[in-house]
């Protein structure tokens, strides 16, 4: 069971975890990413490529589902303006095995950073804006998973 959501509004991580828990696998791993309040940051503006986004997220979920024995995968990614502290992203996986659930969750996050069409712009408290650049550590992390 794959669930993909691209949302302007916030989401309820606990409810999503509960939904996957109800599948009965016994092992549910999740990751929540938020806007981290570094220095002078006020908010992030999350832009995406609407025609491609859901398809890209679904491909990531399907890849995870092929590589690990999962009962369910949920990926939620928000777009628009998100203030410091707000939730950006949720990846949640359910399996019979804890390592499978955790590894698949980690894989999904690494893929999200490198092959999902989102772009973050930082908006500082003084009103200045700048696009976030890709990080070598994210590229390396994504490459560390064999195809």
């Amino acid at each position: 069971m794959i669930k993909i959501l691209v949302l302007d509004d916030d989401f309820d991580a606990g409810a999503e975890i509960a939904n996957l828990s109800a599948l009965g696998g016994g092992a549910v791993a999740s990751f929540v990413g938020q806007v981290r309040g570094d220095g002078q940051l006020d908010a992030l503006e999350l832009e995406h490529y609407p025609a491609m986004t859901e398809k890209a997220l679904r491909e990531i979920a399907e890849k995870a589902d092929k590589q690990w024995p999962l009962h369910g995968v949920t990926i939620i990614h928000r777009v628009g303006r998100l203030k410091v502290g707000e939730q950006i992203v949720l990846a949640c996986t359910c399996s019979d095995h804890r390592q499978a659930a955790i590894e698949a969750c980690s894989f999904i996050m690494d893929q999200l950073k490198t092959v999902a069409p989102f772009w973050k712009k930082e908006i500082k408290q003084d009103g200045s804006e700048s696009w976030v650049e890709e990080r070598q550590s994210d590229i390396d992390a994504a490459k560390s998973w064999k195809d």
Binding site: Y49, M52, H77, V115, F118, W119, K120
Partner: protein, 87 residues
Amino acid sequence: MTYQIDIVYFSWVKERLGRDQETIICPASVETVGDLVAHLKAVDSIYQQVFSDLKKLRFALDQDFVGLEASLGDSRELAIFPPVTGG
């Protein structure tokens, strides 16, 4: 024979070009993504500026990531954007 394709732009590519999409009529000589980018750079200096460093650009044809060598085929939409930074 000419070929028509929609191009969509995101992030700073969109901002620097001052547009989020346009339709381009390609001459018959344009066969790949790289050809199309070179064609645009030849027709207007704004593309020369924004596309100056091709290593900082990524491309998707009909919503699939591709490289500069990808054939346009009968694709309907090319997307040009910087490396993604979501998650």
